[in-house]
């Protein structure tokens, strides 16, 4: 009967109280810096100091007039879209290959594509730097695009691979039997059926690329991405407009997550969604 009373496996009130307190403490720890960030983006005295006072929009005003930051935002957007294109172009076929074809080195290939997500970014960043150095390429946004595009292939591959395993092959078979060629079948049957995993992967790749710094750090040319622009300013000293731009980006990603989550829940039911809407969950499950 106890199961009807409490949601837990057993009604052990003292223990669940202890756990509740612990959970509250962990959430406080996770959200403290974010709260500080948002609060101090309105603080008239800039960064630090307690209590915050003279609430103001000054930092946002300064931010909107700050051209280098907006240039770097534009650069980051371009990089993220281009990286997304590369990762999907190679990641989706890679998932099909892993599910449907046999080739020598398949197990090795599967591990290799996952490496950039599990290895510290510095290793991937430096090895790409050496490659571009040997090939004589000049560092630019293009090298960052190649880095991100390659490192994030596995995001597309794991998401689409998971989608493929749930896919009923009968539709593709019917399409082929009815005279469509593989190209038509791919675009008219396979891709539409994988719409959700592909959009999910695209969003994830986009967000990861926008925030990526460890790999970009070594591949940067003349133009900065947003994280590198922020990094440069943090190294120079205290700059409160960083709080403002971070707050804006946080709110923006939050809205994106909520909208996307709603879409998925409507399409698939919540249990499914919970296990997939996670940056890095793909690697964590492996």
């Amino acid at each position: 009967m106890e199961f009807l009373v409490t949601p837990g496996p057993m009604s052990n009130i003292p223990r669940s109280r202890w756990l509740l307190a612990h959970a509250a403490a962990v959430f406080a720890f996770l959200y403290l810096p974010i709260a500080i960030l948002i609060l101090y983006s309105f603080n008239g005295q800039g960064v630090g100091g307690f209590p915050p006072h003279h609430l103001t929009f000054d930092w946002y005003r300064i931010l909107f007039a700050d051209e280098p930051i907006w240039d770097s935002v534009l650069n980051s957007l371009q990089v993220a879209f281009a990286a997304m294109a590369i990762s999907l172009t190679f990641g989706v076929p890679a998932a099909l290959a892993l599910e449907r074809a046999q080739f020598p080195g398949k197990a090795f290939f599967r591990r290799l594509v996952l490496l950039p997500l599990i290895l510290p970014g510095i290793i991937t960043g430096l090895s790409l730097l050496m490659l571009f150095n040997v090939m004589g390429g000049k560092l630019s946004l293009m090298t960052i695009v190649l880095g991100h595009g390659t490192a994030l292939i596995s995001v597309a591959t794991t998401e689409v691979f998971a989608g493929l395993q749930k896919l009923d092959r009968a539709q593709e078979e019917a399409s082929l039997d009815l005279g469509a060629n593989y190209w038509q079948t791919f675009w008219r049957i396979t891709v539409p059926n994988l719409k959700l995993p592909i959009i999910g992967a695209a969003l994830l790749i986009f967000t990861l690329s926008m925030d990526e710094i460890a790999v970009s750090f070594f591949l940067i040319g003349r133009d900065n991405t947003l994280p590198l622009e922020i990094w440069g300013r943090l190294r120079r000293g205290i700059t409160p407009e960083i709080n403002a731009v971070s707050t804006i980006i946080f709110v923006f990603s939050l809205v994106t997550i909520v909208v996307w989550y709603r879409l998925r829940v409507r399409a698939e039911g919540s249990a499914e969604v919970r296990s997939e809407l996670i940056p890095g969950s793909a690697t964590a499950d492996q």
């Binding site: 974010i34 960030l37 630090g48 100091g49 307690f50 074809a101 290895l119 090895s127 050496m130 990603s253």
Partner: protein, 282 residues
């Protein structure tokens, strides 16, 4: 049902791309680690073991590597201590709020890594939020200066960043535990503590291993948090590599250290995979 042409078409392009932009760079790092730099600062492509000799002989590399591993170990332990009970609470006790709480653990991941590290800097600095708060409350008269620019600051920040990553696989493992096993244990007269230690915890070990590996490996190679918050006593192995690739200009030695790191990391990944398999019941 899929023709040979189809299989070739989906296999070859990704294979070629990954070979050129992933496999070749890693192999190139391997090659570089056996080369050297001439006095005129050109890379000399003659194969030798000098870089490795230097690594084994100079204690600064060993000390820094050990310090990095010690920092990573503390981060791993703390994220487990924070992440496991939280995952257990959300999975078993959160009831209807499960989805919401789960999302709340994920959301901090969407705030830039850099910005969260920077937020800790504004909290821990000598005229930062915490120190001015302590003085405001008359708990200290002078700012506590061990808070920032210390290994403590690095451990705290990395723990903050990797706790959600540790939480995720543990939570996934706990969610996969069939609830009737827990009920059976309860019905057969086990106390809650016995049920936890004999049923729930053993079944969650694969998640713990995955989470621990994640936290350890990613913090081991971090170089941004130490640069931003570590000060001289918080320097980690990757910071040495960064300087060898920058001002110190000795790519081959830097490559040798990176390769050492790569070997440590890949062995840990294999070990954790082995442990996860050993403890998984399905």
């Amino acid at each position: 049902m899929f023709s040979r042409a189809y299989k070739t078409a989906v296999t070859v392009p990704p294979l070629v791309w990954v070979t050129v932009f992933l496999l070749t760079p890693y192999l190139l790092m391997f090659c570089y680690s056996f080369w050297s730099v001439s006095p005129a600062q050109a890379i000399v492509h003659s194969w030798n073991l000098d870089n490795y000799k230097e690594l084994f002989q100079k204690t600064v590399y060993w000390q820094t590597l050990l310090r990095s591993m010690w920092i990573a170990a503390r981060v791993m332990l703390l994220s487990l201590l924070l992440g496991y009970p939280l995952a257990y609470f959300v999975s078993f006790y959160a009831g209807k709020r499960k989805d919401l709480l789960y999302q709340m653990v994920i959301i901090p991941l969407w705030v830039s890594y850099l910005v969260r590290a920077y937020a800790w800097k504004t909290i821990l600095g000598s005229d930062g939020v915490l120190n001015t708060l302590l003085q405001y409350a008359h708990l200290t008269r002078r700012p506590l200066d061990f808070l920032l620019y210390s290994p403590f600051a690095v451990v705290l920040t990395l723990t903050h960043i990797y706790t959600p990553f540790t939480f995720l696989p543990i939570y996934a493992a706990l969610e996969h535990i069939p609830r009737n096993l827990v009920e059976a244990s309860h019905d057969l007269g086990a106390t809650p503590a016995q049920t936890f230690w004999k049923v729930i915890f053993p079944l969650s070990i694969p998640g713990v291993v995955a989470g621990a590996t994640f936290a350890f490996v990613l913090s081991l190679g971090d170089f941004l948090a130490p640069l931003l918050l570590g000060g001289p006593s918080g320097i980690m192995i990757s910071n040495i590599v960064v300087s060898l690739f920058g001002a110190a200009y000795n790519w081959p030695l830097g490559a040798a250290i990176s390769l050492g790191m790569l070997v440590i990391v890949v062995s840990l990944l294999f070990l954790s995979e082995h442990l996860e398999k050993k403890w998984s019941f399905s």
